[in-house]
Amino acid sequence: MRPLVLIATIATAAPAAAQMHDMRGMHMPGMTMPPPKKAPARPKPAKTAPARKTPRAANPKPAAMPGMDMTAPTPASCQPEHAAMGHCSPTPAATTADAPPNMPAGTDQPAGNAPPPAPPTTLAAARFYDPATMARANRTMRDEHGGMRFAQILFNLAEVQVRRGRDGYRWDGAGWFGGDIDRLVVKSEGEGGFGDRIDDAEVQALYSRAIDPYWNLQAGVRQDLGMGAHRTYATVGIEGLAPYWFDVEGALFLSDKGDLLARAEAWYDQRITQRLILQPRIELNLAAQDMPASRVGAGLSTAELGLRLRYEIKRELAPYVGVSWDGRYGATARYARSDGQDHGGVALALGLRTWF
């Protein structure tokens, strides 16, 4: 059957092939051959050579092939693309049913290339139901299929850190509200010691926009809280899923004093089993200048490495145990020493990864 599909296309749609079959002598009222470039896509010429022989061998009824009287429309004489051009009318089904058995029938026939109609702008149902009610229902229906908004609060880190000398706590979480593309995001992270003030804390309020399947562009403000100076920053960053399933965040912060900070964060969830998951995590903070009031020095100021093993009782609730190492560098380390703080160390982390 397939060679015949081919030959039907060639014979009727491709002028070169058609001439080989000597269609010039046919009686085709009102029909103009389409210019070559208008012909629908067809097999490469190389393919036509072997195919050309097939119909005569395979089809003992040449009447249906080139050379037949095409006054009465048959499937071969009124190709859809010609019908679309008004050259002829498509064949009624009954006639086609009488076509010789070896001709491509029904779905075996090639399709034409008529243009689509213009899309209507009215609701057909408005003829049967109250148009205002129908318009309202239509809007609701569209909103319900893809336009929903959601909200989530997720704490990747919410833990107690047990370390020599001083036990503390650490959190890193975010909440968002919005649709698939545009979201309002609130992020917060910080740490502190028990029985002490909060050492470091910050809150960011960001507008987030999906810019590709995996990445969000985020911009907004950051407010520092905690022991250091309570600076306010303009923030711009990206967040998303990198190849190999790394969750990655990167951001720049420009303070109201003109100070520039940067942060990069990444983690990876390695499934040990379906519910036991090991998460290595890294966070680097950088500064373009010394900021004594904030106890931050130029260059790499702090680095944090963590390895946490969680068990997902359910996806939303996963207690974990892990180790966290953090270090302060350069001027930041000196600030810490002069404040009587250590410049880093290892902690045992006990926490709960949770979202709701």
Binding site: T107, P116, T140, R142, I211
Partner: protein, 594 residues
């Protein structure tokens, strides 16, 4: 098969006792069913009343919240006769709008039951009466098209007996409604998917699996990880939350269909699931497929078939010995199964086969069809690029393109210039091929005869034999990370224009699946003919499951004027935006009345 034989009408009232124990189930869905040869406990006639209400159902002994119709989940069997008129008065006792869509029925569009497209919906505590002529015969079903009510049990079967002799002759018949049910509210399921696309997948690849030598080797895992593609992502919602049901009963309930040895039994199988394609088999029995989507097909004998969401298949089985057989409907990701028993007497059971290993997606599932073929024994040019497609310019015969395809990335818009570069489009199939001749996902190595779409041949000649006057490509696009799904990269909420058809025109539609998941695509109000090489006996369907990274082509005669829904029948894909409106208008009306 096509010769009419005497039909035995079985009457079996002795098993009605089950109704006492489980009063919310109709007789045809009682744990032990005598079969449907008797017109018992169905609704039929020209005036039918249906009431939609909240209720509790019990699955494997556990109570679960549901929405039922006339007090049952699934709803009552609606049994009609071709040629009759029917008035269906649907009363909504819920506190929210509802609707019933008559899936697969050809009817005036304003009776099709899709809120916002065919009518405004049925507001709380009101009654809406559907009224239409029944012009066809076969197995169909009905379900809510409002919100996510379908997931909660708002569905039921329809059987329409033909006016003349039924070419399918059977001594007895049973309706098998397959579905999935969760104790979670469907909105909770949808929210979880939105927040974490793989929330319900507890069959992912793990480090423990790597050490044990299971699943992909490390090199392959790295390659897939580099593409951010998860080969275990087969079903979005799984047995982790679902119970898989036969006629509303869990596997432990063991719904039983009776037969007498030697009978020819017709099973009318409906997949009323929200999200689950099922692999159906009855170990020990051959399934002879005689109808697909309500349309008769030439009998095909298989050992197993995959029924996609919203499809129906009628099969004949001939159990010759007085033993029990297990009907296994395995979820396509093998995370669970629905189970029923065919037996000569109630209470008999047969061994229940274990779940098979879950399938892993392949390169071909990512749309690297021709490239995947290259790694095989031959270049598989005919499969990868059938000549008729080459003739249409859909592809070029393989061989010279394989290497070129290798250079394509997974999101190269050069492969689909018509697609917008939206976040919905996570991947663009680099070399999608027609996969209607292949076993459905996970069944290539089943080791026995598996139904493929190309096996289906219409019993009767197609009604419209014209060649299509034009062709149309529609991309199935998605983003598993954000759980966004859409046609042509635009979710329905962002769509500005419908997909227009001229009334009466015949159009060849190719669905290109750019995602790594199968999508059962359903067009309301029409049957289309699959372009699978069967000429004027193309199988006619209302739903086509497009394989991952593959294409499927059908010819559609747009003969039903009005507006029609067109969507992926995976409920949460539709809800996420994988839906469009198809308009069928007389030529010249387009754009009028703007």
């Amino acid at each position: 098969m096509t010769r009419p034989t005497r039909r035995r009408f079985l009457r079996d009232a002795t098993l009605g006792g089950g109704a006492l124990a489980l009063p919310w189930l109709p007789a045809w869905a009682q744990p032990v069913s005598a079969g449907l040869a008797t017109p018992l406990q169905t609704v039929s006639g020209t005036d039918i009343a249906l009431t939609v209400a909240h209720r509790m159902m019990t699955i494997d002994g556990k109570p679960s919240h549901a929405i039922g119709i006339n007090g049952t989940v699934p709803g009552p069997l609606i049994r009609l006769k071709q040629g009759q008129n029917v008035r269906l008065a649907v009363t909504n006792t819920l506190d929210e709008d509802t609707s019933i869509h008559w899936h697969g029925l050809l009817l005036p569009f304003q009776m099709d039951g899709v809120p916002g497209i065919s009518f405004p919906g049925i507001p709380a505590r009101t009654t809406f009466t559907y009224d239409f002529p029944v012009i066809q015969a076969g197995t169909y079903w009905y379900h809510s098209h409002s919100g996510l009510q379908e997931q909660m049990g708002h569905y039921g079967p329809i059987v329409i007996d033909p006016e003349g002799a039924d070419p399918v002759q059977a001594d007895r018949e049973h309706v098998i409604v397959l579905s999935d049910h969760s104790p979670l509210h469907p909105h909770a399921i949808f929210r979880r998917l939105k927040l974490q696309g793989g929330y319900f997948n507890y069959q992912k690849q793990t480090f423990a699996g790597l050490l044990a030598g299971r699943d992909q080797p490390l090199k392959e895992r790295l390659m897939w990880g580099g593409m951010r593609m998860d080969p275990t992502d087969v079903s979005d919602v799984t047995g982790a939350t679902y119970s898989y049901l036969v006629n509303g009963h869990g596997p432990a309930d063991n719904w039983t269909a009776l037969f007498a040895p030697g009978e020819r039994v017709r099973l009318r199988i409906v997949n009323a699931s929200a999200m689950t394609n099922f692999n159906v088999r009855i170990p020990g029995l051959t399934l002879t497929v005689v109808q697909a989507d309500g349309q008769n097909v030439k009998p095909v004998a298989v050992d197993e078939l995959q029924i996609a969401v919203a499809e129906t298949y009628d099969v004949l089985v001939g159990p010759a010995t007085p033993q029990a057989y297990t009907l296994v409907a395995e979820a396509w990701d093998r995370s669970g199964m629905a189970r029923a028993t065919l037996a000569p007497r109630p209470g008999m059971v047969a061994p229940v086969p274990a779940l098979r290993t879950r399938p892993l997606a392949t390169m071909k599932d990512m749309g690297m069809g021709a490239m995947a073929g290259m790694s095989g024994v031959d270049h598989a040019a005919p499969a990868a690029c059938p000549p008729e497609h080459a003739a249409m310019g859909h592809c070029t015969p393989a061989g010279d393109t394989g290497m070129a395809g290798m250079k394509h990335g997974m999101r190269d818009f050069a492969n689909a210039p018509e697609l917008p570069k939206t976040p919905v489009v996570q991947t663009v199939a680099p070399m999608p091929v027609d996969r209607t001749g292949e076993p459905p996902q996970g069944l290539a190595d089943a080791g026995h005869r598996v139904l493929v779409y190309r096996d289906l041949v219409a019993l009767d000649r197609n009604p419209d034999l014209r060649a299509p006057s034009r062709q149309l490509r529609i991309h199935l696009t998605g983003n598993m990370e954000r759980y966004m799904w859409a046609f042509d990269g635009v979710k329905l909420n962002a769509v500005v224009a419908p997909i227009p058809f001229r009334q009466g025109e015949r159009v060849r539609v190719t669905l290109v699946n750019d995602t790594m998941m199968a999508h059962p695509i359903h067009l309301h109000g029409h049957f289309f003919e699959l372009v699978t090489g069967h000429g004027d006996h193309a199988p006619r369907k209302h739903t086509i499951n497009v394989a991952p990274g593959g294409t499927a082509t059908f010819d559609l005669t747009a003969d039903a004027p009005g507006d029609w829904a067109f969507h992926c029948h995976l409920l949460y894909h539709m809800h996420a935006g994988m839906m469009q409106v198809v308009t069928v208008r007389p030529d010249g009306e387009a754009g009028a009345g703007a």
